[in-house]
Amino acid sequence: MNASHTAHHDDLGHHGHAPTGIMRWITTTNHKDIGTMYLWFSFIMFLVGGAMSLVIRAELMQPGIQYVSPEFYNQMLTLHALIMVFGAIMPAFVGFANWMLPLMLGAPDMAFARMNNWSFWLLPPAAILLTGSLFVPGGAAGTGWTLYPPLSVQMGIGMDMAIFAVHILGMSSIMGSINIITTILNLRTPGMTLMKMPMFAWTWLVTAFLLIASMPILAGAVTMLLTDRHFGTSFFAAAGGGDPVLFQHIFWFFGHPEVYIIALPAFGVVSHVIPAFSRKPLFGYVSMVYAIAAIGLISFFVWAHHMYVTGIPLTGQLYFMYATLLIAVPTGVKVFNWVTTMWRGALSFETPMLFALGFLFLFTIGGLTGLVLAITAVDIQLQDTYYVVAHFHYVMVAGALFSAYAGLYYWLPKWTGHMYNESLGKLHFWLSIVFFNVAFFPQHFLGLAGMPRRIPDYAQQFTDFNMVSGIGAFGFGFSQLLVLVVVFQAMKGGAKAAAKPWDGATGLEWTVPSPAPHHTFEDPPPFDQATAHG
């Protein structure tokens, strides 16, 4: 295999000058290399953002101010959110897309390989801007990730750095999306029609469209913020006739699709893992596709459910409430289909399946609390409380992150050529799911009892639940280091992985050897209709 790989490599004249060492990674246009870099980058950012969340939880262990000043606390929670959303979760799924989409579609590489390199290398400067802003006078942005004016118009240079970081990250996402859409639409192997595509490709197709439609809107909003700050405009500055509420409208017009930008690829990964370990094809492929499209479309028409307390008229509140509840229908279809895929399947519970099931269970809880929050009358009571924090951590961590772990364990043998340590993987899953719930379930109670979010201090009756939540957060944080051990072990050695290590898995990615050679599908592979989804 190695010999044929080398022979193949020599056939390609344009790769003869391939650089080695660090330059290999800086100049690479190979989708697998870039995918690997995306995944490592997102994991490093995940650890950085996670460390920040531990600062937050340490401060909240007891009422009063213990370790950090309120200003620094605000900066921690802002950077935690920005880094986790833009630096960890989004690049992680772009990494999966880079690695797996060409392999799933039978394409030799991404459509625009050079641009692919650039969209990755824009990320580190953005990460440096974000984390570096902690060390400038006035510190980092302390507005929360929503960057609401008037506070965001008033803060120091750290705010400008956050704005530029958002610009750069937006550019990276847009270029990545153009690449993904073009790859999916133009580079599928002959015979693979759109409705025979793997589900992960479908979720990324819709996600990429959401990205190119919504990222420019965020870029526009923060640009207006920048001109309000430095060039005397008054888009949002009330003193000059602007309206801070306008920012909220624009931000959430981006922000709500952003939620599905994170969630949809997670749905895609789970739609591969659950059928593979149920040894059944995905139930309701066509309805899954329509559900993804419907979720993507409706996500643009529900933004003001984040803004019930800004004084929007009753008609508006009712519309946004009903429209938000409507999203539960396609999401419910998806959950139903996953559960039905498992129905009477020959289930086995390897680590990817455990994480997929953890996702399914906890994401549904997060979706349910989302429905509670969609009700205007309830939301007015719960706005900006810990109930909201609990809700979105159930969908972001137990949803997106658990799905990413499912994907990581599922495809790790394909990437490294070795099976990972199953016991360690299972230990990682059980520690994660237990500590996750210890950390975030009590936050529902805190929120219902009225504890506000984004405040470093709290009334004494909240102490016990905060202490429990803090213990859970530290447990969860440190158990994530197990992933490093698992991945390093699998990179170094272990049992040789077969081309298709999971007997129930389907798709073109399992037709190439493990580890996947540097160049795959130079010629479009034959598409076996029987192994196709649907």
Binding site: A111, I178, L187, P216, A219, L246
Partner: protein, 193 residues
């Protein structure tokens, strides 16, 4: 629109470029969309009347905004060496608005004069509607020999001023306070012997 990949990949390259250009149009449309938002937002708010960012101006036409009242200022002093007159004789002010006026006092004597101004109003019942925030009449004033001083009065005409009152005259008379009398004695004498 599944596509055959030619060995050279040239066909696909052109198709890829075409698709990328179309996607750039979507991105440009999205940027345009956000660029017109501030204008659209304002137009929408004006059209529906929600989030009326000009609402403060409408107070000018509300019943609370007040009506114009003519104010006249008058100053008197008895034979105490103080030359006392208002800076302005008349003024038109709206009820509910804060009015600032100044009086000018000159001590024409070679000795220190201590005085206390006492207000009176015309018509008399308008007095209760002149809400003073600051007045030189609140306390005794001590004037050095030949001192010239400007003394402020800040007040608001209560919007509930009876409608038949269209002119309010504010008059002050400076009385000399005998040497040795203590500020506020008359008030204290009631509570403490």
């Amino acid at each position: 629109m599944s596509q055959v990949l030619t060995p050279a990949g040239t066909l696909t390259k052109a198709a890829n470029r075409r698709l990328a250009l179309r996607l750039l149009v979507v991105i440009a449309g999205s940027l345009l969309f956000v660029a017109v938002q501030p204008g659209l937002y304002k137009a929408f708010c004006d059209w529906t009347g929600i989030y009326d960012i000009d609402r403060a101006d409408q107070l000018a036409h509300s019943p609370l905004a007040g009506r114009a009242v003519r104010l006249e200022f008058d100053a008197n002093s008895f034979d105490n060496g103080l030359r006392f007159r208002p800076e302005l004789a008349t003024l038109s002010a709206k009820t509910g608005n804060v009015v600032h006026v100044t009086y000018r006092v000159e001590n024409t004597r070679d000795t220190v004069v201590i005085g206390q101004a006492v207000p009176s109003y015309s018509p008399q019942h308008a007095g209760g509607y002149v809400k003073k925030l600051d007045c030189f009449c609140f306390k005794q004033q001590t004037f050095a020999p030949h001192e010239v001083r400007e003394l402020p009065v800040v007040f608001v005409l209560d919007p509930q001023l009876p409608a038949d009152v269209t002119t309010v005259t504010l008059s002050y008379t400076f009385f000399e306070v005998p040497e040795g009398s203590v500020q506020g004695r008359s008030v204290n004498s009631k509570s403490a012997p």
